[in-house]
């Protein structure tokens, strides 16, 4: 007898094979050419457009949309890629409703913004589908740069450096490049192995050698890199996960949401991936939503996301919350986990309601229990294994200007750098800007 959503425990194959395919299909299917023309025509081509200001990579949005409207999607894609070489992925994962589309004058005026994200995908898909790389590498400079971490920041930095003619060695601890694009984003946002296709396309600039399975602190040392390369860019992300610090955290079927998502992303046959009948996700960010929604899509009967503060404090965007709700995820706010109960494997989680006070968040004393045969923890990641000698700011690597660290010749960007907002697009901007600064420094223009 095959499993169903009602099968107790953490099991695989809860759904029919075609249901997995449907559930994990493209979340927002691409615009057709006519839809894109119509959507593009809504853009007012604002002067000093608010959307550009809101974009961390400052893509010239009115220009690329006008290029779509006038039937020049390849020129449009080039406009996007000039600012953001990962414009394809950003078109899929950016919380546009909190960035460009939030400030679109048509959103402000009518509550219906120009569909900037979908238009960006339309243009970038066309150019990328043709396989050609839109940029040409400058004459080799003879300089060598090590980029550690092949996530969005590392890829953006490596690409810009290579474009300027530097030779780049791009190291990553994981077997594949892409970072969170490959391991950390919900599958339905990046179907058809897009993350790897994008990396391959990006490398088309030439001059970038990728070295997978090389971790800083294990296979590489900062000192070693500094002696070998003219400059270093660190984009090592946040390797650690925050602990729940709740009793019973060690029980089985309690795991980090990032691991769950990474495993899901690397699983070819989703029907082989086990998921609980009653899944409880603890956290209120994008990772929590991605874990909760995908649990539901894998066939869990009940998925509850529990966040300790109010809904307004959740870092998951409203659109993400709505997506979760539409997939049947229940969102509980204002409750913190006290204990994970069960004999060996987790069976339930006990929560206490919280209240905001002047002294901070306090437990009210009132508790409740949620049945859980699987618990996914998504309460944030932290910097792990930062090399000695780098000044920190809070729990991240301190930066001045475009990614400069306290060590000469060492730049950082992405989630491991202080000051960012943990968005893919911000990481891209930081990688790109650090590359420009590295180039200026190496070429004596800095």
């Amino acid at each position: 007898m095959a499993n169903t959503p009602l099968t107790p425990g953490v099991v695989s194959g809860r759904l029919a094979p075609e249901t997995y395919r449907d559930n994990f299909a493209d979340k927002a299917p691409p615009l057709t050419a006519h839809e894109a023309r119509v959507a593009a025509d809504r853009c007012y081509f604002c002067h000093d457009a608010p959307c550009v200001t809101a974009c961390p990579t400052a893509i010239d949005i009115p220009l690329f949309i006008r290029e779509i409207a006038t039937g020049a999607p390849r020129a449009s894609a080039r406009t996007i890629f000039e600012q953001n070489i990962l414009g394809g992925m950003c078109a899929r994962v950016c919380p546009t409703e909190q960035l460009c589309e939030e400030v679109c004058v048509r959103e402000v005026a009518e509550g219906k913004p120009v569909e900037i994200g979908r238009l960006q995908r339309f243009a970038t898909d066309i150019l990328m589908a043709e396989g050609a790389h839109p940029f040409t590498r400058a004459e080799p400079t003879g300089k060598r740069v090590a980029v550690v971490g092949a996530g969005p920041a590392g890829l953006a930095c490596a690409h810009r450096l290579a474009m300027k003619g530097h030779a780049v060695d791009l190291f990553d601890a994981k077997p594949k490049a892409g970072g969170l694009n490959e391991y950390g984003i919900a599958a339905y946002k990046t179907v058809n192995d897009f993350a790897q296709a994008e990396v391959e396309w990006l490398l088309g600039i030439g001059g970038i050698a990728v070295h997978n399975g090389k971790a800083l602190g294990r296979d590489l040392s900062l000192d070693g890199l500094r002696s070998e390369y003219d400059a270093i860019f660190l984009a090592i992300g946040l390797g650690g996960v925050n602990a729940l610090r709740a009793e019973g955290e060690e029980r089985s079927h309690v795991r980090d949401a990032v691991d769950f998502i990474a495993e899901l992303r690397q699983t070819k046959d989703l029907s082989a991936l086990p998921v609980g009948r009653h899944v409880v996700v603890i956290g209120g960010g994008m990772t929590a939503v991605d874990a909760a929604v995908q649990s539901k899509l894998l066939g869990a009967e009940n998925v509850t996301m529990v966040y300790r503060r109010g809904r307004e404090a959740m870092s998951a965007s409203e659109a993400e919350q709505n997506l979760a709700a539409s997939k049947g995820v229940r969102i509980v706010t204002g409750a913190a986990p006290l204990r994970l109960l069960g004999e060996g494997a987790v069976e339930a989680v006990e929560f206490a309601y919280t209240k905001e006070t002047d002294a901070g968040l306090e437990l009210t004393g009132e508790t409740f229990r949620l049945k859980a045969d699987q618990v996914l923890k998504a309460i944030g990641q932290s910097l792990e294994g930062a090399p000695e000698g780098l000044a920190l700011s809070g729990r991240k690597i301190a930066v001045t200007g475009p990614g400069r660290t306290s060590l000469p010749g060492v730049w950082v960007g992405g989630d491991c750098a202080a000051g960012g907002d943990d968005l893919t697009v911000t990481a891209v901007a930081e990688g790109r800007d650090a590359a420009k600064d590295i180039h200026a420094t190496l070429m004596g223009e800095g």
Partner: protein
Amino acid sequence: MADLRNDFVGIKSPNPFWLASAPPTDKEYNVVRAFEAGWGGVVWKTLGEDGPPVVNVNGPRYGAIYGADRRLLGLNNIELITDRPLEVNLREIKTVKRDWPDRAMVVSLMVPCEEEAWKRILARVEETGADGVELNFGCPHGMSERGMGSAVGQVPEYVEMVTRWCKANTRMPVIVKLTPNITDIRLASRAAHKGGADAVSLINTINSITSVDLDLMCPEPTIDGKGTHGGYCGPAVKPIALNMVAEIARDPQTRGLPISGIGGVTTWKDAAEFMALGAGNVQVCTAVMTYGFRIVQEMIAGMSDWMDRKGFSTLSDFTGMAVPNVTDWQYLNLNYITKAVIDQEACIKCGRCYAACEDTSHQAIGMTPERRFVVKDEECVACNLCVDVCPVEGCITMRRLAPGEVDPRTGKTVPADYGNWTAHPNNPAVRAAE
């Protein structure tokens, strides 16, 4: 409820909405469908001489210009006059007129520039019981190369001559359809008037190439790798048509000459505008070719509703009302001074007014870091470009400076009296007269 009945040079129809001579009026089947839908009248697609009919191209006959969402803004055609036998057309005209006696049935004609040819065909049209004829002096393609259509319409002497022949050879009202492919429409209308025309109708289509296929390097519509100029029509040509109608309506030499307005009429409002500028009725083509005949219901309802709201009970109550307000530039009041005002509540902060003014006009709009756009009265010449490019209707308006106010741009006090160029001190003619 407004009375929409129309009497145009004695031809009566239940409403002023006729279908223009074109593919929609080429045969009984279409015209009956049009009448069933409610059209007040038709001008039957142009008939030629008896004998082997003309031949049309078998490739595309139309080319289009689109606005947003593939909205058809302009259409161009290279179709000729009817390619059906004369006998068939005449028989159908007779049948339809018999079955629909309350609708206007006008027949468009185009035969060689010989009196006998016109005489022959007029006699045959009379036999159908049709209400009138329209002389096609406008067709800009295909027929003009054979000395007909706009080849006649472009020579006022020919217009007058053929009109006179027709008036001499028929008791039916003669409407002369004018081509816009000329430098001054009044010359042709005066010629028609002199020839005794009962009315003019305008505009026919405009010489045009809609676009170029950049792969084939060929004009569109493309027939086997070649293209030719065609007649342009549809909403895009309406402003040109309105001006030409107004030019004739206010020309002292043709004052009172009935006009059937044609050119991009798509809605009741377009029709009302043509009629306000002196047209006695309107003819429609591209709009029905885009949407089908049913749009006449909107035109009837919209016109009627507007007339009720305005207190007009018949069409003649407002026909020509705007004509006295069409004047020459030199008579415009130069003491009428306005300034743009941006409604900050309505403003959506797109900055288009700023870009337009700063880049292409008078640098009269300021922009703050908070994206607040404010007009600088000391620079504003009231050109209206900001109003025109603003995506929010009513957001930017023009405020008239009251007499006695000082115009911050010129430092001069706004006079209370009317003053135009003819008396302006900068006018060399004024100085010469002194």
